[in-house]
């Protein structure tokens, strides 16, 4: 289906309700759908399960914790080993108010890809013999041990593209690509903010990173300035 273009990020989130499972593209400052995150904060929906590479590391997701909108996070960076500085998420996590599933980054990426690709599970050596293996099937093959990891899907994916066309094709820029194209395939409703929306046909077919079939809603937004200080 052709993507629908919305005038504001708030309108683009129409229908997202309490308890939604939401994926967020982005890696620290790169390719994060910050306009959509801020609109989700304004929307005030609660009990969310959020899936993102990081929360509280140069992203705006931690702001969702201000209003206690997050019930659970699935992430690769969410808790610091040092207590130098504490995010809202960490404080709530340490008080037992939010749940956290910490996932190795490669497994996180692969699980999302599997969720979008109709793969029912995959075997990886990552995590064998660690806390990550707890409760998972271990397979032996070719003299190695492998964990069976399961696909990850969401109700909604919120993405940040550099450029979109009106049909819904997306291009990302440099390290802004990261999890965005994977999440585009793994959610029932896919909403992307783009810095620019061009006419259909302007993007060369070989240079499109996410084909339009994966994108339901678009909104044009100037990027929100975000910078992590590394702490």
């Amino acid at each position: 289906m052709t993507a629908t273009i919305f005038a504001t990020p708030d309108e683009a989130l129409d229908g997202i309700a309490d308890g939604a499972r939401i994926m967020f593209g982005g890696f620290v400052s790169a390719g994060a759908p910050s306009n959509l995150v801020l609109a989700l904060k304004r929307r005030g929906v609660r009990g969310l399960t959020i899936m993102a590479n990081n929360i509280g590391f140069g992203d705006l997701l931690d702001e969702l914790c201000e209003g206690r909108q997050v019930a659970k996070a699935i992430a690769t960076f969410a808790v610091r080993a040092s207590s130098a500085r504490e995010s809202n998420f960490e404080a709530q996590y340490r008080r037992g108010e939010v749940e956290l599933e910490l996932v190795p980054q490669g497994t996180f990426a692969e699980r999302i890809r599997a969720g979008g690709a109709g793969i029912g599970g995959f075997l990886t050596r990552t995590g064998v013999g660690t806390q990550v293996a707890e409760g998972k099937e271990v397979h032996s093959w070719q003299g190695e041990e492998w964990l069976l990891e399961r696909p990850l899907r969401a109700d909604v994916a919120l993405l940040k593209a550099h450029r979109a066309d009106r049909l819904g094709n997306l291009q990302y820029r440099l390290a802004g690509r990261n999890f965005n194209p994977l999440m585009a395939t793994a959610a029932d409703l896919v909403i992307a903010e783009a810095e620019e929306i061009v006419e259909t046909g302007e993007l060369p077919p070989d240079a499109i990173h996410t084909p339009a079939v994966h994108v339901d809603r678009l909104v044009r937004c100037d990027p929100v300035e975000v910078r992590w200080d590394g702490r």
Binding site: V28, S29, T76, A78, A81, P104, Q105, G129, A175, N178
Partner: protein
């Protein structure tokens, strides 16, 4: 103990020593923290290809230009791109890492065991930590170098018989470079290859929990 007052290598000198381990043309992933310093010490003629797990192959030094939020390494630091750099999604990036396409990974460490087990992501008494790409790199890189301080701030050895902290991966470390020594991990255990200037093998062994075989040709750390 007399050794306690002696100077240890700075983080920069540890990074410099690690850089000497990178073969020309190698594809290298540098973990967060001390390892990110290694890139600056690799000579340009070595043509090292730096991979960042957030989706860049061929990044260069740290960027001094206006901050570009879409051009950062996996530690969130602004970087430049070398000619021939490419960008890709996280699944392709970890396919590269887990598929054995990274020649060398350099990671920080909390503890390394005599078998080469690595613990580097969680300090339970400080409330946890995060995994990031460490488990994937530890398992997937063809050669894993751990760069870390030889002891904790209060003097406890980090090279141990068994890791007490949660593991990153089992039997994954090939070489340990610390502010006191270079230690090789082999099938038969740990071998002390080099010691920091001014340190004796005995002094280093005294600050090491795991048994250390001293190499016949043990020498001073080549910087």
């Amino acid at each position: 103990m007399a050794a306690e007052g002696k100077a240890r290598l700075t983080r920069e000198l540890v990074a410099m020593r690690v850089a000497r381990e990178l073969p020309p043309g190698a594809t290298v992933n540098l973990g967060i923290g001390l390892p990110t310093l290694v890139g600056a010490f690799a000579p340009p003629e070595a043509n090292i290809l730096l991979q960042a797990e957030n989706g860049i192959l061929g990044y260069g030094g740290f960027s001094e230009d206006a901050f570009d939020p879409d051009l950062i390494n996996a530690g969130g630091q602004p970087v430049t791109l070398n000619p021939g750099a490419s960008t890709f999604d996280s699944a392709a990036s970890f396919a590269m890492i887990r598929g054995g396409h990274i020649d060398v990974a350099v990671l920080g460490g909390l503890q390394v065991s005599e078998r080469g087990d690595l613990a580097n992501w969680s300090v339970p008494e400080r409330g946890g930590g995060s995994i990031g790409g460490a488990m994937d790199l530890a398992v997937g890189a063809r050669r894993l170098i751990v760069a870390m301080a030889h002891t904790t701030r209060d003097g406890q050895p980090r090279i141990v018989r068994e890791c007490a902290y949660p593991l990153t991966a089992r039997r994954c470390v090939d070489l340990i470079v610390t502010d006191l020594a270079v230690v090789e991990v082999g099938a038969g255990g740990l071998t002390l290859r080099e010691v920091a200037p001014g340190w004796t093998p005995e002094e280093v062994a005294a600050l090491t929990d795991a048994p250390l075989r001293v190499a016949a040709d043990v020498g001073e750390m080549a910087l």
